[in-house]
């Protein structure tokens, strides 16, 4: 168990408005909020989701865990949480959208894939285009896509570079899909042999930025600082 003093970490962002990272759910604000929670799976893989609280409710966690595995439940310890730097009056609309998404997709119809977060909605109806099209999201791009649908852009998408290491990761995902009897989705993803990857820690870092949309370097820097917190966790 972390000591009380370690439940909330202040990051030096070279800003007059220091942001906080919460590591204990009970220390999250009582008033409505929306943010990003991230946890370390292993040295090569992290996982992120959306943490939020409705007026008077318990903190909830909505995350895309894997192919057709959207999940929502009460937020639990083990994550580092950063809250979005947006006006308080915008929060209930985003929280309500999270609830709508969960209610409409709790049967797990959101596939795992490598699409950009701004390519997942019909430009007119805002309808999710994922369906059986082969499109899909990662845990990180799911967060960006939900926020994008609510007109909150935390990351400067065109600032992200393609990286060689991401192709290795992409192949591991395709293999894992094949191992889990998701051949069709694996085949589709294999046809997309390149692209930009938004890593979970970079999305958390973007969320922690004082200025939106965060550029790549800011996201990397803040994401790294957030991950360092796990070094101090038991």
């Amino acid at each position: 168990m972390l000591a009380k003093t370690r439940m909330r970490f202040s990051l030096d962002l070279n800003s007059s408005t220091p942001l906080s990272v919460y590591t204990i759910v009970d220390t999250l604000p009582i008033e409505p909020f929306i943010g990003v929670g991230i946890k370390r799976i292993n040295s090569h893989q992290n996982h992120a989701g959306i943490v939020y609280r409705e007026d008077g409710g318990e903190a909830q966690f909505l995350d895309l865990r894997w192919h057709h595995q959207l999940h929502q439940g009460i937020a639990k310890n083990g994550y580092a949480f950063v809250l979005l730097n947006i006006h308080q009056l915008r929060i209930p609309a985003i929280v309500g959208y999270c609830r709508l998404l969960w209610e409409e997709n709790e049967n797990g119809c959101i596939p795992y894939g490598f699409k950009l977060p701004n390519e997942c909605f019909d430009s007119t109806t805002a309808k999710w285009l994922l369906g059986n099209s082969g499109l899909g999201l990662t845990c990180a791009t799911f967060i960006l896509a939900v926020l994008h649908a609510q007109r909150i852009t935390i990351a400067k998408l065109d600032d992200w570079p393609e990286r060689d290491a991401d192709n290795v990761w992409r192949q591991s995902i395709i293999s894992a899909l094949r191992d889990n009897n998701a051949q069709k989705q694996a085949n589709y993803l294999e046809s997309e042999n390149s692209g930009v990857r938004f890593r979970p820690e970079e999305v958390a870092g973007s969320a922690a930025s004082t200025i939106y949309p965060a550029n790549f370097q800011t996201a990397i820097s803040l994401g790294g600082k957030i991950l360092n917190i796990f070094d101090d966790m038991p």
Binding site: H87, L89, L100, T124
Partner: protein, 201 residues
């Protein structure tokens, strides 16, 4: 109140099909409405409509004009339409009647929830508008958007209204006026409208 309506006998089957195509958007924004060969059915109601718009109603500067379609017959359940049935010949009163039957209770519920439990109001709002937009019922969506009185809503709820309708803004003529109203209301309340509405206009 419960109503049923059958199409006037002068329309043949082909006319019914034409009248009830998706293009005519005859469900009047009622997401539960289903259409069969000769009438529109909604829970507890059957309504017969056609898509003619009278010159009278065109001239009437009335918010109800946005309804697509004119009620041709609206008679109590248990009776059937005939030329002798008590037909509401005033189109505008039909529109008002439909509004009162279908939209007013929904809006009143929205306004009440907004005051008592605004997350539930947002939930109600999202489901209704998401249902209309997903079916590309832009006329119905715009009608409903036009009816919403933002003065009866908490800021959290009318901001959600802008969020859920943003993607279709080019198809919703009423939205720009609603944005202006909301911006003015926030400014009067001393809020930073620019910050709150970023990305939503």
């Amino acid at each position: 109140m419960a109503f049923s309506g059958l199409l006037p006998s002068q329309y043949d089957q082909n006319t019914y099909t034409a009248l009830f195509s998706d293009e005519t958007d005859i469900s009047c924004g009622i997401p539960e409405a289903t259409i069969n060969s000769n009438c529109v059915q909604v829970p507890d109601y059957n309504i017969a409509l056609n898509n003619k718009v009278s010159e009278d109603s065109k001239e009437a500067e009335n918010k109800f004009f946005r309804w697509s379609g004119i009620v041709e017959a609206l008679t109590p359940i248990g009776s059937t339409f005939s030329d002798e049935s008590p037909i509401h010949t005033n189109t505008l009163s039909f529109m008002k009647g439909l509004y009162e039957i279908f939209e007013s209770p929904w809006l009143q519920n929205l306004y009440s929830l907004s005051n008592e439990n605004y997350p539930e109001a947002i939930n109600l709002l999202y489901k209704r508008f998401d249902g209309l937009l997903s079916k590309e019922k832009f006329n119905s969506c715009d009608s409903l958007l036009n009816q919403v009185n933002i003065n009866n809503l908490k800021p959290e709820v009318f901001i959600a209204l802008l969020a859920i309708t943003f993607a279709a803004k080019s198809k919703l003529p009423s939205r720009s006026a609603k944005v202006t109203d909301i911006r003015n209301k926030l400014a009067v309340a001393g809020e930073n409208a620019d910050e709150i509405l970023v990305g939503l206009e």
